[in-house]
């Protein structure tokens, strides 16, 4: 069993140097391991950092109730410690909720950001509805992903998992989006039952500088199960070759 550190961070790409940094923010309960396939592909021109938020994955220490604002505070604290100043950011699923809260509070830290399969669609903000969508989603998951899910849910524990679901459902990201000024790319896979096409469009519309890209056949967990297609979709944006609006 590896030692538990307050925030366990995975990194890809070269150490040091002044090149751009990409911070990846994991989704609900499932921590940084699920980001690895995409991180490997994106690391090259950028250095990738993927922290496991406190209470998840290998960062198991955390106090108090879970909420999007408190996770954003945790992430900001981590960023200060990791010397992250201005960076590229990529959030996945529930991680987009935390990331947009970070971007609201500290626009200076966000050069551009990518919201991959952002949650939670306002029409799905009840436990039965979100459970139904999850059930639909599970048929899109690979066996390897399922194994990973089980491990990370076990690490976080049922209490923390339930608390995180509650936090995700009570949060209202649509209230923050109109205030986010960073260029933002919204990514949705067409095989994603959780992030609907309508919601992805709504997110994009609310962002002052947002653009939507759709990845054919990609599922909700595309960082793990469709990493090549995702990397191809976001690389030009991260490199600054494309500017939304």
């Amino acid at each position: 069993v590896p030692p538990v550190t307050p925030v366990f961070t995975r990194t890809w790409g070269r150490e040091g140097g002044g090149g751009p940094v990409l911070v990846m923010v994991h989704g609900l309960v499932v921590a940084g391991s699920m980001l690895a396939p995409s991180a490997e592909r994106l690391a090259g021109s950028v250095r990738v950092l993927a922290p496991d938020l406190p209470g998840y994955g290998r960062s198991r220490e955390s106090a108090g109730a879970v909420s999007v604002p408190s996770l954003a505070s945790d992430l900001l604290e981590w960023a200060a410690g990791a010397q992250v100043r201005r960076a590229l950011w990529l959030g996945v699923s529930f991680g987009c909720q935390v990331l947009t809260e970070v971007a609201l509070r500290r626009p200076d830290l966000v050069e551009r950001m990518v919201l991959v399969a952002p949650t939670v669609d306002p029409t799905a903000r009840t436990v039965p509805r979100i459970l139904r969508r999850w059930q639909q989603e599970s048929s899109t998951q690979s066996t390897a992903l399922k194994r990973l899910l089980l491990a990370d849910y076990a690490r976080a524990g049922a209490r923390r998992a339930a608390g995180t679901v509650r936090a995700a459902l009570r949060d209202r990201p649509e209230q923050r989006l109109p205030h986010l000024t960073a260029p933002t790319l919204v990514v949705r896979g067409t095989a994603d039952p959780i992030t609907t096409a309508a919601w992805a469009q709504e997110v994009t519309r609310l962002l002052p500088r947002g653009r939507l890209v759709t990845v054919p056949e990609a599922p909700h967990a595309m960082t793990f199960d469709a990493p090549d297609a995702l990397a191809d979709a976001v690389r030009p944006f991260l490199d600054g070759q494309e500017d939304p609006l």
């Binding site: 809260e101 509070r105 009570r170 205030h179």
Partner: protein, 467 residues
């Protein structure tokens, strides 16, 4: 189901009671028994049957059991208070949230606007016994627990308050520690992030009342006396009526020999500690809030503004708005005030300055048909206490009908049964109106324009500028 405040916070604290009163108002519920379990109403209602000495002993005991032994000071964490307070308010999104000083007119204002208020101040009474007329001894006794409290709570200022006038019955068994937040703290900040969306308004309720204090440390002051009956000067220098008061209570002293004040500080109970502003500015910037400061020189300065706003809004809705109710200290009924179409004019306590403020208000406004009086009861005939005849003369200014709302004028200031009666008295007074939805903030802010009131509304940061 309502939660209770952490054990180390006094239930009789004004900030605690006011947060509960506003919470009840926002939930559209009555506020019986000052937020205590209504089952207590029955025995309290009949408290008047007991002889005075026993009644007084019960009052002292009920206060004493609210205090915590000194050894528990090390465990007091003001974040627990914030977690409790936020739980008092309905879990929904608000267009605005108020933060800052405790104020009864403010409770009625925020209830009208449907806005929750996060108190800056709280009272943490510590069990210590001292002669009420020995302020220096009281100060010295509070030093060590005060320092322990400050060490464990780096974001607060401590005002050790000693008022042998209004709090005479309480302070013989306990030390009044009033704490003020210098930072919002994690619990308030998180609650704001979840309940006040970007673009919302953060009102800062800033009472600029100060008092001469003796500095005991970086964030630690001792305040001898408090706003109310006796003047600040009387606490520090004595007077004929103070000598008479002390003699009447069998005290060996004829004046109070308090420590020399070294400076002025925000008044312990009502004053706003401006150190909090920096943190509020940061949060407003980070979350794109409008930051609007509401500044007034003393607690009751807000009362005329709120009373007039109620009256104007009733009239806009076609309700006469000709009934005045006078809540006193923490005796108030925000929900029933709206339901009966009453105009609230909040009195800081039950002393002369409160009576004067109501008279001054009535002198400058259209007469009221009905006037109802709630009156806090603290059990001490102290300098500045207003006799019943004078309250009656105030009530006589009603054009039609006046009522003592649950107070027996013959028992002032010892009618503790008042606490079990004021809400029923409000309810029994005929007149029913639908409780309106929240008043738009704009109407309140327009109402503050001009210099009719001793209240300054300053928009310090607009939501657009924050972005």
């Amino acid at each position: 189901v309502k939660s209770t405040p952490p054990q180390f916070v006094a239930n009789f604290d004004s900030a605690t009671a006011m947060a509960r009163a506003l919470g009840a108002g926002l939930r559209r519920e009555p506020f019986p028994a000052l937020g205590e379990p209504p089952v207590l109403k029955l025995p309290v209602r009949h408290a008047g049957l007991l002889p005075w000495r026993l009644r007084r002993a019960l009052y002292i005991f009920s206060g004493w059991q609210e205090s915590r032994p000194e050894r528990q000071v090390a465990d007091m964490d003001v974040e627990e208070i914030a977690r409790w307070v936020t739980g008092e308010y309905p879990d929904r999104q608000y267009p605005a949230v108020a933060v800052g000083s405790s104020n009864g007119a403010g409770v009625h204002l925020w209830n009208l606007l449907g806005v929750p208020w996060l108190p800056q101040t709280a009272l943490l009474p510590v069990r210590q016994s001292v002669h009420p007329d020995e302020p220096k001894a009281a100060m010295e006794m509070g030093l060590e627990p005060g320092r322990t409290l400050l060490e464990n709570n780096p974001d607060i200022t401590l005002h050790h308050m000693h008022d042998a006038n209004q709090d005479r019955l309480m302070i013989r068994t306990m030390t009044y520690f009033r704490v003020k937040r210098r930072r919002l703290g994690a619990a308030y900040e998180r609650w704001l992030a979840e309940h006040l969306p970007p673009g919302g308004t953060l009102y800062v309720q800033e009472c600029e009342q100060t008092w001469g204090v003796t500095r005991l440390g970086d964030r630690h002051v001792f305040q001898h006396g408090a706003v109310g009956g006796a003047t600040e000067r009387e606490f520090h220098e004595g007077s004929a009526r103070v000598a008479e008061y002390l003699e009447r209570h069998g005290s060996p002293y004829r004046e109070w020999d308090g420590p020399e004040p070294t400076e002025r500080a925000p008044e312990a109970e009502w004053g706003f500690e401006p150190a909090l502003l920096d943190d509020l500015r940061r949060v407003a910037r980070e979350r794109r809030y409008r930051l609007v400061r509401l500044r007034f020189p003393e607690p009751q300065a807000l009362s005329p503004l709120v009373a007039d706003l109620y009256r104007a809004e009733y009239r806009r809705r076609g309700i006469p708005g000709n009934r005045l109710v006078l809540p006193s200290f923490v005796v108030m009924e925000p929900h029933w005030t709206l339901k009966t179409g009453s105009v609230p004019f909040w009195m800081e306590f039950n002393m002369q300055p409160s009576l004067d403020a109501v008279h001054a208000y009535l002198d400058g406004t259209e007469p009221f048909d009905d006037i109802g009086l709630m009156l806090f009861q603290h059990g001490v005939e102290a300098p500045g206490l207003v006799p019943a005849e004078q309250w009656q003369r105030l009530l006589d200014r009603a054009r039609r009908e006046s009522r003592w709302l649950g107070v027996d004028p013959d028992e002032i200031p010892k009618d503790f049964a008042q606490y079990a009666r004021y809400d029923d008295a409000m309810r029994r007074w005929p007149a029913r109106h639908p409780v309106p939805g929240p008043l738009p903030l704009r109407r309140f802010e327009e109402h503050c324009d001009g210099d009719r009131y001793r209240v300054r509304l300053e928009v310090e940061q607009t939501a657009a500028a924050a972005a």
